[in-house]
């Protein structure tokens, strides 16, 4: 059976790192082709959702952007929802990787937190469509994605909990079981609001406030403000 690849459609915003497969019988190993097609579908979904919103996106939109056939879509995903989950997971894996790497590169915890937040803001600013996908469209893409969204936010808690280490009894007395959850929730709500309003250009400017907000319970306000005002 022939694979019918839609060769006639051009995808102008095609991610450069995902090179087009030659059409037809190319003799490449099946696993490689499958993996590549999956990536293209994910990229295709991201583009389609950026254009049409989640509700307005159809499988036809996705396959057109991905330059694969409908049949190929169904080889990888059983529905638009499933494709969205994969796209969401891909974006979040990349975001987590960057935040984790930036955090790990610093020796001191306050600077590590600052670096992690900066990496998050950098990524969301550089990729406004992916920012919208992961923080706006994700909320209307069904309960599976919403649950992942909630987990992703909660996954930030350990980065702040690490700040409890070595603190005085006095500082620790000022922290509660929900402190980190509240800090993370507050931080994300600031970021999310601007993405909802398509104001990703305002994200970078949040860095000093976010650093001060998250570090103050551990360092006190003047020390936290100092770290917040540090320039790279």
């Amino acid at each position: 059976m022939r694979d019918s690849v839609d060769q006639s459609v051009d995808a102008p915003e095609y991610p450069p790192e995902l090179a087009r497969l030659p059409p037809g019988r190319h003799g490449l190993p099946r696993e490689f082709v499958a993996h590549n097609q999956r990536e293209r579908l994910i990229a295709g979904l991201a583009e389609a959702v950026a254009e049409n919103g989640y509700a307005g996106t159809t499988i036809a939109h996705i396959t057109r952007h991905a330059a694969v056939s409908r049949r190929t879509f169904y080889e990888h995903f059983s529905s638009k929802d499933e494709c969205f989950v994969a796209a969401y997971d891909t974006v979040m894996a990349e975001l987590s990787r960057r935040v984790g790497e930036a955090f790990d590169q610093e020796d001191e915890w306050p600077q590590a937190v600052r670096a992690g937040i900066a990496a998050m803001l950098d990524f969301l600013t550089a990729e406004p469509h992916l920012a919208r996908l992961s923080m706006v469209e994700a909320l209307v893409a069904g309960p599976v994605v919403v649950e992942r969204y909630d987990s992703a936010i909660q996954n930030l808690v350990p980065y702040l909990q690490a700040g409890r280490e070595g603190r005085s009894a006095k500082v620790l007395a000022g922290l509660s079981p929900t402190t980190e959850e509240a800090l993370v929730g507050g931080m994300v709500s600031l970021i999310s609001r601007r993405i909802f309003a398509d104001r990703t250009d305002e994200l970078e400017a949040l860095l000093p406030d976010l650093v001060e907000f998250t570090l103050t319970p551990y360092l006190g306000s003047s020390e936290a403000a100092k770290v917040a005002r540090q320039t790279k």
């Binding site: 909320l139 209307v140 919403v146 909630d150 936010i153 909660q154 006095k170 007395a173 000022g174 509660s176 079981p177 929900t178 402190t179 959850e181 509240a182 800090l183 993370v184 929730g185 507050g186 931080m187 994300v188 709500s189 600031l190 609001r193 909802f196 949040l206 000093p208 406030d209 976010l210 001060e212 907000f213 103050t216 319970p217 306000s221 403000a225 917040a228």
Partner: protein
């Protein structure tokens, strides 16, 4: 959810629905507004019975937590469903947070640290409180909410009053 679901639950005729609302979205917005008024009424009444700002915040927070516990369906409407119910609902959600932001901002006048506080502090504090309540609402942990009042009060008041000052009020 469809209009059919709504009318079935409400036990009214489809015609009656359309006499009142032109769409499911419009109905949702009305429900959200109703829920928001209900919450705000409680918060304002509770806060209004105190003169000092820290006590007003604690009382207001207490009233809001009470609302979430006693009216979880209304709370879910404003705080959970709203985010996936379209731009009108999201705008209402922002407005409701703004009401709390205004209440908290008054703390800058009574705080020795007032001028130094970050501009987005209130937004972040409210966002944090909402996030915690959202988590409890979506994981059906309503019974754990009331006991959060002291720690949430402390969290909200510390930037303005310092840790000890906040703890004193939270422990009342």
């Amino acid at each position: 959810m469809t209009v059919a679901d709504i009318v079935k639950r409400a036990g009214i005729a489809r015609n009656t629905f359309y006499e009142n609302f032109s769409s499911k979205e419009e109905c949702f917005l009305a429900a959200q507004e109703f829920a928001m008024s209900a919450a705000l009424e409680r918060v304002v009444e509770a806060a209004g019975s105190f003169d000092e700002w820290p006590l007003r915040v604690r009382a207001g927070l207490g009233a809001f937590l009470g609302f979430v516990v006693e009216e979880p369906a209304l709370a879910r409407t404003c705080m959970v469903e709203a985010l996936s119910a379209g731009p009108g609902a999201v705008r209402h959600y922002e407005e409701s947070q703004q009401a709390f932001v205004s209440l908290f901002k008054l703390g800058r006048d009574v705080s020795p640290h007032g001028p130094e506080l970050p501009a987005t502090l209130e937004e972040a504090l409210i966002g944090g409180v909402f996030w915690i309540l959202y988590q409890r609402l979506t994981s059906s942990q309503l019974d754990t909410i009331s006991e959060l009042l002291p720690q949430l009060s402390e969290f909200a008041l510390t930037p303005y009053l310092g840790a000890e000052g906040a703890r004193e009020v939270a422990a009342l």
